[in-house]
Subunit: 263 residues, 3 copies
């Protein structure tokens, strides 16, 4: 008997990334709607603390989290300042996971990195709530669609396949014969500056400079001296500027977009 | 075999709303106690970020979330500055969900809106922890009671039925022959001002004024111009004052209780 | 059929305590890795809001939460400023639960209080991710190990048994013939000062003084008068200094380590 029960599949996993915050009722509405449609779903919060309307920050966070989620995860992604206007809603398979969100760049980093992807424009109202507001499509469209996908509805039923989507205007790496110039892409809660320079490009003898300050290249945060600015190959796959047991962001008044030079 | 397994009921859903914050151990204690009694429960956080002791804010949040939760959900609601004093603890069925919380107004908005309700005064210690502190009834009484209800214990076993409960002193709408005066009931994390004026009362040609400033009536946040104060029918069912991609709260130094006039 | 299904064991419970915050992707990575290894796990957040690198605060929070978690819970605990350096990783059974974390004091309060414990040094890479970074051992080692333990891997497979571990330098109680001097061990979100004085040592006629101010001994927060400093036997098992519906921390500019005297 035990064997029979154990062969049942694990619960479908629905992950959520929003800028709703955790103080109001918006996350609960989204989750409630999902569970009404797919009562066995397991829900995993990626974050709800994307700064309001910060599509770039949300896109970066989603792309950093996605590779670590189980295959088959359905992600509902809602940073959606254009809710109720003409912007499209997308559903996409990318490298074994499914992403649902507005076509405003939020999904674009995940999609750009995927080796396999398929994207549809969500138009079939059969999988939306019967009543759709013009101010909360997370609850009325994206959550319900995610729940139906978690129950097994294929993307082909949601709307027509498309090939183009909105990308983000991110600054590319600049290379000269002796230097690479990257930028700060994200600042995390520890005050680590996560740059756009891929970790595998950090060569052992490299000279790394951030805002005119030399950063010693080390291999772990704890290898820094007290107060010293260091550069490490971070767990997200990019070079980070950090201070051991401290905040590089506070120390350097860092901002997203600041330049980093490797020579 | 698969069919057999699929017929098992989905896990009971226990939702939580508190002012405990997420930084200390209080939420974990509450959840741990619930799972010890009902190990299959799925737990859903409505929020733990109700400002400390803010019964009105908690009541508003609960009433906004409740209609979207699956039928059968058991909600534990703990904003309880009077813990350990003579205030009662209530358990109530309201429109297909169950709510457990102190009788201080926290449940009153949900109860007032319910078309069907039944309320009991929680007195039967058989469903409490054996040891009850005087400082944490969420952990010692309300959580355990919720877990037993999630396992199927009927309300009638918890204590005697009552008909009266503590209501909140909320300002009603004021009407003249040409105007309706409402107030700001809640300010959300986006800085949207959620008023007490039901959305269905917003007539197309209406003139909406907040703190002496005209708010243009539009149908979506994104229809506002940059920096413009707008009034929209919000997803919670009330008129909201908002700024596209910005914060009406910051712009107008808004406070709960501020007046809004529709003419 | 229903009976058969009901006899299946409840899902394994994995609890998490970190200083990752909830804004970035770190928690999602940790959870994703756990669910890839143990897809049926139920995940319970103790907190992710331990202040960055605050090992003492994390240890206090873990010790306060642990007794209330169901027996069998596996706790992943990551406040790990020494990640990538020589500090060890521990896995420990203590009073029916399992704790996995760095050997930097984080687990030491839980271990010190346990009546039964067994500790191993986690060295067997068979239960780690194949690739281990030097900056995120929560994701690459501790999360995977926790997931394997949740699936039933015994501690003996993780590495050698050890008997010593890093303890925290906490100030002990000081006693004279007429007084006991304790300190503030933790300040919670309500501004309650949780001291190191066990609640059972509060004698009815005791005179409690904090920073030169008398605290009236009462039995519930609500028994305080407006603005009055009170001392209560708190739900965590220690004497707390509090203000009814207010913050003792703000009122007294309290800090961890402040002294409290009972005479």
């Amino acid at each position: 008997v035990t064997t029979l029960v154990k062969t049942s599949p694990p619960p479908p996993l629905v992950a959520l990334l929003t800028d709703f915050g955790t103080r109001d009722w918006y996350v609960a509405c989204l989750k409630g709607v999902i569970l009404r449609i797919c009562p066995r779903a397991h829900l995993l919060d990626i974050t709800h603390d994307v700064p309001p309307y910060d599509i770039v920050g949300g896109a970066f966070t989603l792309a950093a989290a996605a590779p670590w989620l189980p295959l088959g995860t359905v992600c509902v992604c809602v940073v959606d300042p254009g809710v109720g206007t003409a912007r499209r809603i997308l559903a996409a398979h990318a490298d074994g996971r499914t992403f649902i969100g507005p076509d405003n760049g939020l999904l674009s980093l995940v999609l750009a990195r995927a080796t396999q992807r398929r994207i549809v424009h969500v138009t079939n109202r059969a999988y939306w709530l019967p009543q759709v507001s013009r101010t909360f499509h997370g609850r009325d469209i994206m959550g319900p669609v995610a729940a139906h996908v978690a129950r097994g509805v294929p993307l082909s039923r949601l709307g027509p396949t498309i090939s183009r989507y909105t990308a983000l205007p991110l600054p590319p790496l600049k290379r000269t014969s002796t230097t690479v110039t990257a930028s700060v892409g994200y600042i995390d809660r520890f005050g680590n500056l996560i740059t756009t320079l891929p970790a595998e490009q950090l060569v052992p003898g490299a000279r790394v400079t951030y805002k005119g300050r030399r950063c010693r290249v080390v291999s772990a945060y704890g290898a820094g001296k007290a107060g010293e600015l260091i550069a490490v190959a971070g767990s997200t796959g990019y070079i980070e500027v950090a201070v051991r047991n401290g905040s590089a962001a506070t120390r350097c008044r860092a901002r997203v977009g600041d330049r980093l030079v490797m020579a």
